[in-house]
Symmetry: C2
Subunit: 273 residues, 2 copies
DNA sequence: GCAAAAGTGTTTCGTTTACACCCATGC
DNA sequence: GCATGGGTGTAAACGAAACACTTTTGC
């Protein structure tokens, strides 16, 4: 608040009453096949220099909060994600030491494949959600709210599929649900329940040459993505490749969006997990 | 946006970058024993003069959004409600013709007993939710989002009790749930389900003189409240006292908040409606 | 070849639903 | 006294949970 006067001197945009600044922040969830991760940016300047924070920044005057959040996310991490979910606006009076700032917060879901071109994001890094460094501003609180919201939403919306590749195996999906909800499911019951929602379809595997080539490629891509997901910090902290569980190939499924839309119309459709 | 320059001339609060104005709006739900209602204010000035809108207004620079929403709600309707739930922030670029305005929206739950001192609210009026007049700004959209959120929340939180008096009968509670969710429940099943949540307790009725006096009083209060809930506009439109169903006295229950808090801690408690 | 994960059906149990009668009250 | 809503239990159907063995793959 002290700084407002210096800002005023160079200020070109004047109002009869004081206006807060408005920022957007984006909690990006990712899934490495084992644990839920979030994407953080190391702050280069004050305040909270050197702390980690969510990608985000000031909203422009001619864009919606959604547009602003997407723009900032892209600028800071190179990610171009299709949907953001607004889950709260944070308005504590002193949450930013510089001036009155309110933050409209979103969460987003990133696929491994979204993460591949991770060059833009020099300062961006993934952290497992149980092992997050100290965060700037009130971002710890925002993170807690984001995870709570994610847990709630997964009961009603097919959120998981935004965190997995187009094609995924049932155990992958199960591990995802388990790590979001913090519970364990019986494999067979999970399979049944998932299938009888009617929104999944089994991918027919054409096991010809192109298919085997695809798997070859895919395996590499996968390790690349895991590499990208687990940046050096995370790997140093406690994650080793040798700890990665061996995985069978498994049957692939995909999310049938049209069928989901139709089911959603029909009734008070619930995913019931 | 055109007006910004005239505002700037008289503006005392200047910033290097343009800042949007921030308002709060409050969707107040009330229950008249039969239908869900919302509380609206008739706008006295432009824009949207004469239209109905939610109570709300500009957030002060030294208050949180919650505080601002409560303050505006009290100023405009005389209501002093204990909790507001933030359910969304609306940021479409042209949602206010005067300048860039974003709105942080809350919903609130009003009891009949909260409504009694309804004198402050000369311009405030209750409307049944299926019969709402044209609303100012994007308030139709905001209302839709508020009701969606209420429907979702009622699955997880004991929201109904904020809309009923301290003591209520099971059929009252059932009608409330039915009008929020838009479904019908079997009386016996509803009773069982509600009781086995463990958060209700039966009020021991002391049927002595004071008790019978209480019922006498209560009946009067109740008709008063219904009168307050259904303002003249609503009554004219389609509601008549003669249509009020006859009601037996019924067994009273109340919400045991401590027990609820304990249950909530224990597990992933769901109210399951 | 061995260890670890994937795939698959059936039985049991608990929950949800459907349903009908008598009682109390207001008119 | 009659019409309307309040109060209560049971049986059937359904969905959820528990459970073990065989097959495939990666190493």
């Amino acid at each position: 608040m002290r700084q407002i006067y210096t800002i005023m001197e160079q200020g070109k945009y004047c109002y009869k009453y004081p206006h807060p600044a408005v920022t957007t922040d984006c909690v990006v969830f990712g899934f490495d096949g084992k644990r839920l991760n979030i994407l953080l940016i190391e702050r280069g300047g004050e305040p909270f220099k050197g702390c980690w924070a969510f990608p985000g920044g000031f909203m422009n005057i001619n864009e919606t909060a959604e547009q602003g959040a997407m723009r900032e996310l892209c600028e800071e991490t190179g990610l171009n994600l299709e949907y953001l979910k607004q889950f709260g606006t944070f308005t504590a009076v002193n949450r930013d030491p510089r001036e009155r700032v309110i933050t409209i917060a979103f969460y987003a879901l990133a696929r491994k494949s979204d993460v591949q071109g991770g060059d833009d994001a020099a300062k961006a890094q993934w952290f497992p959600i149980e092992d997050v460094p100290p965060l700037a501003f009130d971002h710890d609180y925002i993170l807690r709210k984001a995870t709570e919201q994610l847990k709630k939403d997964i009961h009603f919306e097919p959120i998981g599929f935004g965190l997995l590749d187009e094609q995924f195996t049932m155990p992958e999906l199960q591990r995802l649900y388990e790590s979001i909800l913090g519970v364990h499911f019986d494999r067979r019951n999970f399979y049944k329940k998932m299938m009888q929602t009617g929104i999944l379809e089994e991918s027919e595997e054409e096991m010809d040459e192109s298919e085997s080539r695809y798997f070859g490629e895919r395996k590499e891509m996968c390790s690349m993505s895991i590499d990208a997901l687990f940046g050096s910090a995370a790997r140093e902290s406690q994650h080793h490749y040798s700890e990665e569980p061996r995985r069978r190939k498994g049957t692939k499924f995909s999310f049938n969006k049209e069928r989901y839309e139709r089911l959603k119309e029909d009734k008070n459709f619930r995913l019931e997990f």
